[in-house]
Point group: D2
Chain length 389, copies 4
């Protein structure tokens, strides 16, 4: 029954550095756990904060060698490059506005990069970064982590396999409530940068969570959003970025869609859901119950497909660790991104082609994410006019 990670066997741990993720951060800790779950990485260096003392304190707290705690990411890139046992890859877990300069620096210094989303704060930067990555020959991984859930892999493979027929309708939602009040005034580091255009970019809810919903809709269906018509709101007084966004979507191939991203929907913790309807079937999935996928073949009873259960396909099995009924969660989904990143990095280091079956989001998906954000903002400014991505 047991499968450990992607399970091809152990071949040494990849030496990893981290930029961002110091005390008070959220996603840095997630990346660290995710990197350990399948035992393919070893965190050996960090520039955990832009304040050197904080960086050091944070490094001590997580057991990093103080010698390899750096006061700036530039120093880390330079010093680690010079070491024989220097890092091979870097995880970027800073607020959005630092993704671009950090990623650029490390790619150009010859490191593989694992970067949180959204990839950059502007579409122009995203395109430039894609070029830089391409030229670098290094692996660039975008942690659209929800693509790592086994039942999302299952759904994607089912759509690709034609189980739903031609797709007609896609409904994606990402609803939260943690910004229903001015959390940014309570000293929340998380809230603070997310509502600040200088750090978050042009998108509030659309950048922070809307991009996940957009990415997941495209990832599962294999379709691209061609046009969208968006209505962004900032309900909480004094907020500059959107905290609620509703939009209509038109996909390549003729499918229609809706997307709702909100951080003021009281009663929603992390309500990312995806529903896909085709000519011959429908799929429904909710992130808060990630081990379940509801599948209705046209004219038949609805079926509950579970991770590891009867009806689970090879794509799901490839990223499952434990038997059905033993819930895998957010951290395991995230770990799948790391496990597959390790395979790509190892292959690249060895000069091998990427192994089969890897289904990670690409740097082009990262560019699409910024195109999505900018299209949302542009459409909303034009009172919901259709904007082409």
């Amino acid at each position: 029954m047991a499968i450990e990670g992607r399970g091809e066997g152990f071949s040494g741990r990849i030496r990893l550095g981290m930029v961002g993720g110091g005390q008070g951060a959220f996603i840095g800790g997630v990346h660290r756990i995710a990197s350990r779950i399948d035992d393919k990485f070893e965190l050996v260096a960090g520039a955990l904060s832009s304040t050197p003392e904080k960086a050091l304190a944070s490094a001590r707290e997580i057991g990093l060698d103080p010698e390899r705690s750096y006061g700036s990411y530039e120093a880390m890139a330079e010093k680690e490059k010079a070491r024989d046992d220097g890092i091979e890859a870097v995880a970027i877990v800073t607020p959005n506005h630092m993704h671009f300069p950090v990623a650029k620096t490390f790619l150009q210094a010859g490191f593989h990069v694992i970067c949180d989303k959204p990839m950059t704060t502007t579409l122009a930067e995203a395109k430039e970064l894609a070029e830089i990555a391409k030229r670098s020959g290094k692996v660039f991984i975008l942690t659209h982590n929800y693509t790592g859930y086994p039942m999302i892999r299952q759904a994607r493979a089912m759509v690709a396999n034609g189980d739903l027929g031609k797709i007609r309708v896609v409904v994606a939602e990402y609803a939260q409530d943690w910004l229903a009040e001015r959390a940014e005034d309570t000293g929340s580091k998380q809230a603070g940068w997310r509502v600040d255009p200088a750090k978050a970019g042009a998108g509030g809810a659309i950048g922070d969570i809307g991009t996940h919903a957009h990415n997941l809709a495209c990832y599962v269906t294999g379709l691209r959003v061609e046009k969208l018509s968006a209505d962004l709101s900032s309900f909480v007084s004094g907020r500059k970025l959107d905290d609620n966004a509703s939009m209509l979507l038109r996909f390549s191939g003729g499918a229609k869609g809706m997307l709702w991203a909100s951080q003021v929907a009281v009663g929603n913790e992390n309500g990312l859901t995806l529903r896909v309807y085709g000519e011959s079937g429908g799929l429904e999935w909710a992130q808060e119950e990630p081990n379940r996928l509801w599948y209705t073949p046209l004219g038949q009873a609805k079926r509950l497909l579970t991770r590891g259960g009867a009806g689970a396909n090879a794509a799901a099995a490839a990223v499952s660790r434990i038997p059905p009924g033993h819930p895998e969660g957010y951290l395991e989904g995230f770990a799948t991104i790391y496990a597959e990143a390790a395979e790509l990095i190892r292959a690249a280091s060895d000069g091998r082609p990427p192994p089969d079956g890897i289904a990670l989001p690409t740097i082009e998906d990262g560019v699409d994410g910024l195109a999505f954000i900018e299209a949302c903002v542009a459409s909303s400014k034009k009172d919901g006019a259709w904007v082409t991505l």
Copy 2:
């Protein structure tokens, strides 16, 4: 524990006639059951089909006196008016295009009218009918039946009471799948007229089910849709009316919304749902589990409010019949419309003002429904431009 209907005590049954609802119909049977549940009506006459023989056969099947089975609604209005024991009210359960002429005829002949939705097939007719009803002094009831569910009453009273604070976001959906294929080709009487513009009017899914979602959103929040931007599709080949509609809404007072109506969403039977989020709370309800209402006060744990359970308010209790945990369903919700209709009719007949606590949809809601349909069609034709209702 027991409450029978609205429970003010029995005061004789109102004599009811029915137009439409013959063999093969759906909603006619529903109206008949609904009219019996609280024992306030007695069906005594009918023009159940526009084909006289069918009308008679249908009448026999449901136990109507053959003498009072009429071959046309005009005949029924005339003959029943002449009888001492003639009908007092008529239920109109025909395809949409007949609502207007039948309602007009009966109102003008001095009968109270209970009419299925949408009220007419055009906004112009709807406005005219509202005028006719007003002049007639008779009671006109529109069976937006979902307003009869106790937990919808509860939700409405909670919003009115300020439990959610100022409303920010409203998400309404009505998803079905029974028209995912060409059911109209299989001899389904139900499908046949619903996809025919001559009988259904300008709206397909938006008229048949979208109006329910629109009505419910307004009914619960007490807000009106001021503008909408809609994208209608006809996915099934050869279909003239929409079978999928997605739209953005802007409500009076600044709330934003989304509405999705689909009859091609495979895996959805009768997926009417409503979610309302305000500054200080959120509510979530799904028609397929109508006895449950999820309520989250800002910053507190989500609560499951149940019909008749702890936390049920007076508005819910007023339309509940049996103790909590004993599910009331669609027919009981519909029966509430009839029970309240009976009270209004009895009061009008007696020259009394309407009793307190009645919360039925009004004829203005019917006009709004047609305004909604026409706005959807107009917006979609203009590629989703905002249209004012």
Copy 3:
């Protein structure tokens, strides 16, 4: 899509009398609604209370002719027998201790009887009543109403059809919380008689709700409980009858089971559930979501069977009224008992054999119910020794 009741066509309403069900009662109102839903009965007489003035007031409240409101059931039986338009059947909705004398009186007077459960207060009475019913040639209907739910009919037919293979395990529960405190001290008429051995019989929770769970387990599986080992408790101080009962069951054919009945399980409104596991499949059902039945064929994904949906069988369809997704509830399930009762009564009156497809609980099931109660009490007194039913 529409099916009205069992739908064979109207053939006049059966004239019904009622004993019990006056003001403050619960189940009487339920019977009245249930009798109207499918339009096969007309309530024309009643002995609604053992206090004549209360009986009359109750009769007025529900619109009964005061002339046919009787101060005692004996008077009703005598007077109605003498009328040309006298009742044909009587519904007995009194506290348990009156079931036997009333049923006996009416059967012997030549009336059909519809009687609430448990059938009597002792097994001896139950057996005697079964004999009396048999000799009378009259129809006796026991309202184990949960057998009227379409998905229970579906489950029963599936088991009979072998879809689950040989049954191994049955888990039945009926959990409530309304007696978690001394509701009997608050003037609740419902609570008062249920905790009084003189009126309820030897069983508290086991008689009131345990019998439903027992009946449903047997009804669906077609098996009989051969032996049981029970542990009864009276948690609320001063209570004479059980308010919580747990037991092990051994069924005919070797299946094992558990049954839990509780009226002190805080958070449960009307938690009747049934789970049945066989060699090749499993079924799970919960009364609070009655339109859904979960079916897992061995080695396949779990399926959600819905009333009227894909996968619904003929047994379910026969007792459905409205399309899938439009919830039918407790009252409709109860109405099915009345609809089938009407068919049996009409057939008996006409000298015809019972029509096919009727699946009502029998008077033998009523005897089994009392055997169950007495076995529970006996086993518990003997510290859980196995007792044969």
Copy 4:
């Protein structure tokens, strides 16, 4: 928002060895992931299989130094003791019959022990092991992993806090279906030893999963099972141990309970559930949705308490890693056992008293587990007579 593990700061990794957990095993891989999640252990040695070649192949697969892969656990104990950098603790993840000899060997050799459940195969062994552990002064951790779920911690703290009042009823279930057929004939290593009395001990389902349910019921309520009456079955032909067990429980303090453990309940993947009802409240939890706990205060609406959400208490927060709505699963719950084990081991090594707030199962719980298994077998042999634990 973020909390990493129990978060007191990193203080070096504990050097861990493992006995069992070679290729084809399930729980070994789980222990390894769990030991890594919070970064408090480093696996450095193993005796992964009793077949030396298999042990070595397994060691290579997971990246163990081949020099520290041992062909027997005795060799590992001896050699590691002799090393300066030898292991500090051992994880025992063998089939049940090896728990005792391995644990005894390592405790007596001066190592801390983390041992899977059930602790031994007989009660006598369990008691002896408890003595050995006590004398050794070493930490002994029993991985009743379900106690590591945050909402189980929440529930336990709520009961201890009196939120439910005096406990009346406890219902525990653990239902699976993977042994509904003869999986032991298909070469499943997992199934093979679990149905073999020589390896599993006297309990089949009761030992493998029933002990978890028993442990959880006691862990959450703080009560002990004083007596039980059990009915064990072996439904699958040829099976020597129980594959279905139903039983009645009597707890210290007067609470009553039921426990059902089954491995033949088709449609259940890993259905461990616990329901606890007291005088003033009820709690309901299901392992397959571990981040949710349903709480009903008497007379109030049911509340959904979520991991990290409003209403989560300190006990839950202490073992949470990520924000609400981001599901933590089985592996994180298991990791909590390891994180707390690390704290106990570190404290013991440093000669400090155990830190506050640790809520791990104890070795006495392990003794109780064997007492439970033997009582079940004894009771069932005596046809369900009450047996005192």
